[in-house]
Symmetry: C2
Subunit: 115 residues, 2 copies
């Protein structure tokens, strides 16, 4: 069993900090997690994650804040307590209206369901 | 893409509500999630999840509150922002000292990594 403090995990900062998006890899294969990885993202107000797509899915829980998630089918608002499921290959990005924190889980690279 | 509100998901209540533990299945295979399922648990102060083990792992994010997670190796305190990784077959339970909410992700039943 492994308990980790958010403040003990070094964040990854994109675009030299200009993007306003940071990510912490909280539970990964290096911890012995075999099937999926759990990350925590923090977005400053107005920040956006890249609009992109990839074969793997996202399962997201909004811890705090509000904003919209963009997709090919339009924008969907989100706020604290919501979950967002993004299927594989769906273009998407998250736009923070306030400061936002969310948990984002992705399958391990070798997980069969992704293959 | 699917956004769900916490308040729109009917909770599962254990032991006719006496346990003080409720669970909401937020993202599951019925939503098209292929690899893992995301649930949200709420515990009233003093509530405990069952002390048990199973072959699959848990990846947990503590949204709010504090308590301890019990294992064969003793108790580990947790509070908001922490993650807890419980490997397959590790006996465990969560004990809430305050009102607690956490996200708990488990592999899909047919996920290869579970074997």
């Amino acid at each position: 069993m492994l308990v980790k403090r958010y403040s003990d995990v070094t964040p990854t900062t994109y675009d030299n900090g200009r993007s306003g998006v940071t990510m912490r890899e909280m539970i990964t294969a290096s911890d012995g997690a075999p099937s999926f990885a759990m990350r925590v993202f923090d977005l400053v107000p107005g920040a956006t994650t890249p609009y992109h797509h990839h074969p793997w899915e996202h399962e997201v829980f909004i811890v705090r804040g509000s904003g919209v998630v963009k997709s090919e089918h339009g924008d969907r608002p989100f706020s604290a307590g919501d979950t967002v499921f993004i299927a594989g290959n769906e273009p998407h990005c998250f736009v923070a209206e306030s400061a936002v924190q969310f948990v984002c889980v992705i399958p391990a690279p070798n997980a069969c369901a992704v293959g």
